[in-house]
């Protein structure tokens, strides 16, 4: 396995949050209240905190899924843009993994992985071959033509991981990736994510409130009430 092809010569943090503020409902709800954080390239970070603390909101900002009300997110030292720039950032640099898997129900496993590659207009053969290879890597060679409804929860999350890797991103962002899994599958998924992070040298940020998962990360970013703790 190769390291992410999108490494650059930039030596600073791959992602940096500067005074991120996110408010909703005309400012009445403050999800983030001035968050500063850095994540280094190839680092494995756990973002922890109680429910409603703003950890998922921070992850969404870092991944360009949402934009801050104030402050900015830097990717390799450059501020994330908006609109098409954010779309490009998400399609080329970030792979998302969600608690609810978020697979498309009408597509087979192998097609769900290819959907991510449709954003980059790659050839049909390339898409199919890469999707098959990634699913094989996830141990799903025999299940790639199954629909999500025909897969177990653990298998669905492995398909979601393969999809997150489809465009060879530099960063994997996982929001409670084991939240819907039993302990056996949780351990399996974490093993896969750690393996990917180590073997590919990818940056991995996991939002979790599970202590044992947080404990597996060398560094924690703790959030409480929209602020970094400690």
């Amino acid at each position: 396995m190769s390291s992410p092809a999108k490494d650059s010569a930039f030596k600073g943090p791959i992602l940096e949050a500067r005074n991120l503020i996110k408010t909703y409902d005309d400012g009445r709800v403050q999800a983030l209240r001035g968050v500063d954080a850095e994540i280094q390239a190839g680092e494995y970070v756990a973002i922890t905190g109680p429910s409603g603390s703003g950890k998922s909101t921070l992850l969404h900002m870092l991944g360009g899924l949402d934009t801050p009300s104030e402050g900015k997110v830097l990717f390799r030292g450059a501020p994330l843009g908006s609109g098409a720039d954010l779309d490009r950032f998400r399609s080329q640099q970030v792979g998302f993994i969600f608690q609810a898997f978020h697979l498309l129900p009408t597509l087979r496993a192998v097609e769900n992985v290819q959907v991510a590659m449709l954003a980059l207009r790659q050839s049909g053969n390339h898409r199919a071959e890469r999707a098959a290879a990634l699913l094989e890597e996830m141990g799903l060679k025999e299940r790639m033509n199954h629909y999500p409804s025909q897969l177990s929860a653990g298998e669905r999350q492995r398909v979601a991981i393969a999809r997150a890797l489809a465009n060879d991103p530099a960063i994997l962002l996982a929001d409670e990736p084991t939240g819907n899994l039993d302990s056996v599958n949780s351990a399996h998924i974490m093993q896969i994510l750690r393996g990917i992070q180590q073997q590919r040298g990818m940056t991995l940020a996991i939002v979790t409130h599970e202590l044992d998962i947080a404990a597996s990360a060398p560094r924690h970013i703790r959030i409480r009430d929209g602020r970094i703790e400690g």
């Binding site: 009408t106 449709l118 699913l135």
Partner: protein, 377 residues
């Protein structure tokens, strides 16, 4: 080899997930385009039949009152029209749409026995009629429908007419028609001394003058000689006579309503589809799909509905047109032919309907916030 997922294949899977709704939507646009193909095709064929009716007989100009459907001119004007130097022949005529049986109606022409228009007909049986006698000749299509041959009797508006001949005229308007002496037609229509039009055949155009310029000059001369009448070129008369205009209006009006229903069907389907797939669109945006790609996906689905519905509609409309041409009630005025241009026009309207109907749902889908869309239950 793993299955490939193409952009079009993805759009297809999205449409096919709600099969019944997709099929019902296709049914709506199929009916709309089918109505357009059949009705507008019918009205255009009707216009072409009128044009052939004039050109086959050699009529250059029709002299009428302002409203062709309800026109009533004094037959005595014939002499003044004949006196115009450019006029070679001038034939008074009456035409009307008449119920012959409860199931069959037909165009009935009243012509004089010496009309030049009778010369353009091919007689398949019997002979021409004579003025002043209750005699008719029948177009071959109508004779077949009525099962009449020379010697049979045909009652028309309370008068028994003898069928004396069967002809073939080269247009459905003639082949499905009855032709009788003008004076008999005037008697059964209570139009003694009146006609609906004069058909004029011009002398050959002088060398050096174009046909169109010559006809225009002749029109002005006739209108100057007989104030209060319109002298129209045959082609204009074919396009603008009251029956053709009415047929065009009814065809376009009915088609427009049917198309509107079809477009609303697609718009409803796409709006529902975007609403139901809010979270899925959020997933696509999270995967880096651009807003434009989401728009393209939804428009592809809507356009596919329009295209497939259009093709089915063309087939249905063509079938409907053939049916109209075969029915006794409409065979006299319908032709089963559809011009390729009309088919292309129908398909373009179907595709445009899909794009138009999908535009707002596509815009809405593209402007969903990815985070809010992912949270959508």
């Amino acid at each position: 080899m793993a299955a490939q997922l193409s952009f079009a294949g993805f759009a297809w899977k999205n449409l096919w997930r709600r099969r019944l709704r997709t099929l019902l939507t296709l049914g709506g646009i199929t009916m709309g385009i089918g109505a357009f193909v059949a009705l507008v095709g019918f009205s255009r064929a009707f216009e072409q039949e009128w044009l052939r009716l004039y050109t086959n007989a050699g009529t250059d100009i029709a002299v009428v009152e302002t409203n062709f459907l309800n026109t009533s001119l004094n037959q005595s004007l014939e002499a003044r029209i004949r006196a115009v130097p450019e006029v070679e022949r001038c034939m008074p005529m009456i035409f009307n749409l008449v119920d012959l049986t409860p199931d069959v109606n037909a165009l009935v022409y009243g012509w004089q026995a010496n009309s030049y228009e009778l010369d353009s007909l091919t007689y398949l049986a019997g002979r021409r009629f004579q003025d002043g006698k209750p005699e008719v000749i029948l177009g071959n299509l109508l004779a077949d429908d009525l099962k009449k041959t020379p010697g049979d009797t045909l009652p028309i508006q309370g008068t028994a007419f003898t069928v004396v001949g069967i002809f073939h005229g080269g247009t459905a308007l003639e082949d499905g028609a009855v032709v009788m002496p003008l004076d008999e037609m005037q008697a059964i229509s209570s139009m003694e001394g009146k006609v609906t039009a004069f058909h004029v055949k011009l002398r050959p155009a002088p060398s050096g003058e174009s046909y169109d310029a010559y006809v225009k000059r002749a029109e002005k001369a006739i209108e100057a000689a007989v104030p209060g009448v319109h002298a129209d070129p045959a082609a204009d008369r074919a396009a603008n006579n009251g029956l053709v205009t009415l047929a065009h209006s009814v065809a376009w009006g009915t088609s427009a309503i049917a198309l509107l229903i079809g477009i609303l069907g697609i718009a409803n389907t796409m709006a529902m589809s975007v609403f139901e797939r809010t979270r899925e669109i959020g997933i696509l945006r999270a995967l880096g799909w651009k807003g434009g790609q989401v728009i393209l996906l939804i428009l592809t689905e809507a356009t596919a509905l329009g295209l497939v519905g259009g093709l089915l509609g063309i087939a249905a409309g063509w079938g409907g047109l053939r049916l109209l041409a075969a029915l006794p009630q409409t065979a006299s005025v319908a032709s089963a032919s559809v011009s390729p241009l009309h088919l292309v026009e129908s398909l373009l309207i179907a595709i445009a309907s899909g794009v138009f109907a999908g535009a707002y749902p596509a815009w809405r889908g593209a402007h969903l916030s990815p985070v809010e869309a992912l949270r959508y239950e």
